[in-house]
Symmetry: C2
Subunit: 491 residues, 2 copies
């Protein structure tokens, strides 16, 4: 009877109680015990090699949750009132008959396979040298502070504030904290009704495109630039115009004239990391007014500059309501939690809120409330400061290592950003180096998919350093440099 | 100097430490202390009326977080290295010049104001008798169990499993739990690659419409039915065909012939609560095969039937891959957490996953992992069982009360669902009753916006009982009944 329990293989990754309870719930759902008693706690404890107390605690918690009942002197039984729903009568399930299945290929109204995504490797954690961009080092996450906030928000007296959701609104406390502690540091003054909470930058951009794009509405996008942004815009039927850059950032003038929307990354151009000069920012806004276009500012790495004070956001120079500002906590706190925000004219925010309501109502309410508290308690700022110090050290190591080992390459070094944009020798395709490096445990990103045109250069790579450990940087770059030199001889 | 601190008005809604720290972080950010010492702990404690220990703990935590430094015998000071970013130079901010602002009215590509939403009152908690649908009673949320799972998932050894996000994938543990413990109870056998995690039913439907709708692709929607679904489909440019119902649920036959997609709510028709008979289910699937349409099954209230065993999902009868199944935890656990799932052909799921990646990447990873554990530990099932008992009691009270007090009305009583669909006397417009009831503290929903046609009946209301307390049901219905009688005399 209890033999099958022997295959509870306990590991140290979670508590024994948790593992045993999970297994018992499974067995109960499969009706494995029927009307027989569960093994007595002493026997069970021996069988799977834990203390008897552990078993008793699990049994008692299952009584509490209505799975088991305890019968005097006879032991624990599955509650006979427990509905055995796993055995729902499904008379008609036969194997699928594929001949009558719909033809999905013909039914799709969007061809998503046309979109090449940045080939991010979801197994990046397995690489000893992950020079990946957009991820963080989980060990640096402020676990203790996050848990404290989570514990407070999820306490009995507080749950009712978020568990019902916000009916399409946002958490007013989060909006306040973003205004007071995040936007103010970027020089942005915004009222509550000019802010919308989203699921991150990607989601902000999608909502904007869904509302504003259309067949005759041209969107300008930096080239190279954010590949997923180009795809969103195409998905929403707008023409995408690739925009040229120079050492001051996006070029203003003729190329912007036909655009109704201009998408830019002024703090650090994505992916070249160039910071747009103040002069250029003013020229851009002046042209926006004159030529009646709207600027969408993606301030994805705003709060970082290792050498001098960062410039305020482009939005802070905006006198005519011509800038929509997009920010997120993905780079600064966690890409897994998915919280971002946008700042725009309140008329526009009102419409975006309606649209968001149809898309998904609102970002999860518990996370909104936890983050509000996390910011209010000063934990967010102090985390950003800590990360800045950590990133500054890494950035210096990167500079050193790149100078020392990647001398064959063209380096675009800037004073901020969590990555370096690097031109390989012209004859060396980045995808070739990427594959060769991966074989040696080094993960780098090819820049190919960030360019919009087919005849674009194929010899750019991006080296991110937000996720890699300090002590892996120099050794990793040494191996990479050797590889580049070897490849150059071989080509 | 410290006078402004006097306006820390402490309340009992959160801990004193939390409130004082929040206030001090605010003051430090405003540079209120400059280079002067903070008030000594003893003085500060007297000033705001808390123990000295509380102040010392707050000061020390701010030292820990890099806001303060402690100087021997001189007290606590703001760390002079703390960047004062609130004072970013924003030379150019003038008041907005509205004459140069974009004309947003002309720029919107979607007219969202055409969509009338169910007029849900976000202040519903303030009504003594909230007969509202889709909300829950926060006191019944399994706070203790949720916190236990949250605490485990957010522990130092576990954070790394979710804080980086899932790169467009889903939490495999959540997918496993949904397969084994939720879908199995609905008679559905699904592989992991046939499941997509979403932000709830609304989000599942939006992703489907975004991928499958188009100008010549007709979607059939029950009438009356889910108003936001009609809006999503229109937003995605598909024609919406209203579909007639009868006492067995959706009518099959001629009216479905021109549909490429048929959206149904078989377990309890939304909003009339009728359960589709087995005979009708089989006829619907047979016609789907013959006329080559696909059925989208919204199983929003699946797990509830107060009288007999609930029928398995329509999807469980599906032999030809013609049913897309949509479910969520909003009704059973919390509408605030925003987690749902869909089951479909793996080719379709693969495309939907790509689309979701462009929309918002993935639902927040911490919530996915917490819910996975919550289900695995048996807490979800045991919560559903508890709620079923609670709802059954309420449902019986509702039946009693409606019979006793609403005798002038036509009642559509069914054995499941968290609401009653009620026809008022024909001459009584539901919006009139809604307004009159609200004035007496009773919140009811007018059915008007759930019908698709303009000449639809105006005398239907929905009475939900998931959020209202047991002891408010009979008194609330008594007042409502009196109001209906009075109104009938007055009209």
């Amino acid at each position: 009877m209890v033999d099958f329990l022997l295959n509870i293989e306990l590991h140290n990754n979670s508590s024994y109680q948790q593992q045993i309870r999970e297994k018992l719930v499974q067995l109960i759902n499969q009706d494995a015990f029927a009307d027989k008693a569960l093994p007595p706690s002493r026997k069970m404890a021996q069988l799977i090699g834990v203390s008897r107390n552990t078993i008793i605690l699990v049994y008692e918690s299952l009584v509490e949750e209505g799975y088991l009942i305890s019968r005097e002197r006879r032991g624990y039984f599955v509650d006979p009132d427990l509905p055995v729903e796993a055995n729902l009568a499904v008379e008609d399930v036969h194997p699928l008959s594929p001949s009558h299945a719909p033809n999905w290929g013909k039914r799709l109204q969007k061809n998503l396979s046309q979109f090449t995504s940045l080939n991010k490797d979801k197994d990046w954690l397995k690489y000893p040298y992950p020079f990946i961009y957009g991820q963080i080092n989980a060990q640096e996450f402020p676990t203790y502070q996050w848990r404290e906030c989570s514990r407070k928000v999820e306490s009995r007296g507080k749950v009712h504030e978020w568990v019902e959701g916000f009916m399409g609104e946002d958490d007013p406390e989060l909006v306040t904290q973003i205004r007071q502690q995040i936007l103010s540091k970027r020089g942005i003054v915004a009222q509550a009704d000019e802010i919308l909470i989203t699921l991150g930058t990607q989601n902000s951009l999608f909502l904007l495109a869904n509302l504003l794009a259309g067949e005759k509405v041209t969107f300008g996008v930096e080239d190279p630039g954010h590949a997923d942004l180009r795809q969103i815009i195409s998905l929403c039927h707008s023409p995408v115009k690739p925009l040229a850059l120079d050492s001051e950032g996006l070029q203003v003038g003729q190329q912007l004239k036909e655009c109704r929307y201009v998408c830019v990354t002024p703090s650090h151009q994505y992916p070249t990391t160039v910071t747009m000069t103040v002069k250029r920012r003013k020229a851009l806004l002046e042209q926006a007014r004159k030529d009646n276009f709207v600027v969408i500012e993606d301030d994805y790495e705003s709060e970082v500059n290792f050498i001098e004070k960062p410039l305020p956001a482009l939005k802070s120079f905006d006198q005519h309501g011509r800038v929509i500002y997009v920010g997120s906590l993905s780079k600064s706190l966690s890409p897994g939690i998915r919280i971002g925000y946008l700042v725009a004219d309140k008329k526009l925010v009102k419409e975006l809120r309606k649209l968001r309501h149809l898309h998904y109502r609102h970002p999860p309410a518990n996370n909104q409330r936890i983050i509000a508290l996390f910011i209010a308690q000063g934990y967010y700022d102090s985390h950003v400061r800590r990360m800045r110090r950590s990133y500054e050290e890494k950035w210096l190591l990167m500079q050193q290592g790149i100078e020392r080992y990647l001398s064959a390459c063209e380096i675009h070094s800037t004073a901020g950003s969590f990555c370096f944009w690097i031109g390989l020798p012209e004859s060396m395709p980045s995808h070739l180096l990427r594959a060769a490096a991966a074989a040696k445990g080094i993960l780098i990103e090819s820049g190919d998919s960030l360019f919009s045109q087919e005849h674009a250069p194929k010899n750019y790579i991006r080296l991110g350093f937000s996720a890699i450990n300090h002590d892996k940087i120099l050794p990793g770059l040494a191996i990479l440099g050797k590889l580049i030199d070897d490849l150059q001889k071989a080509i």
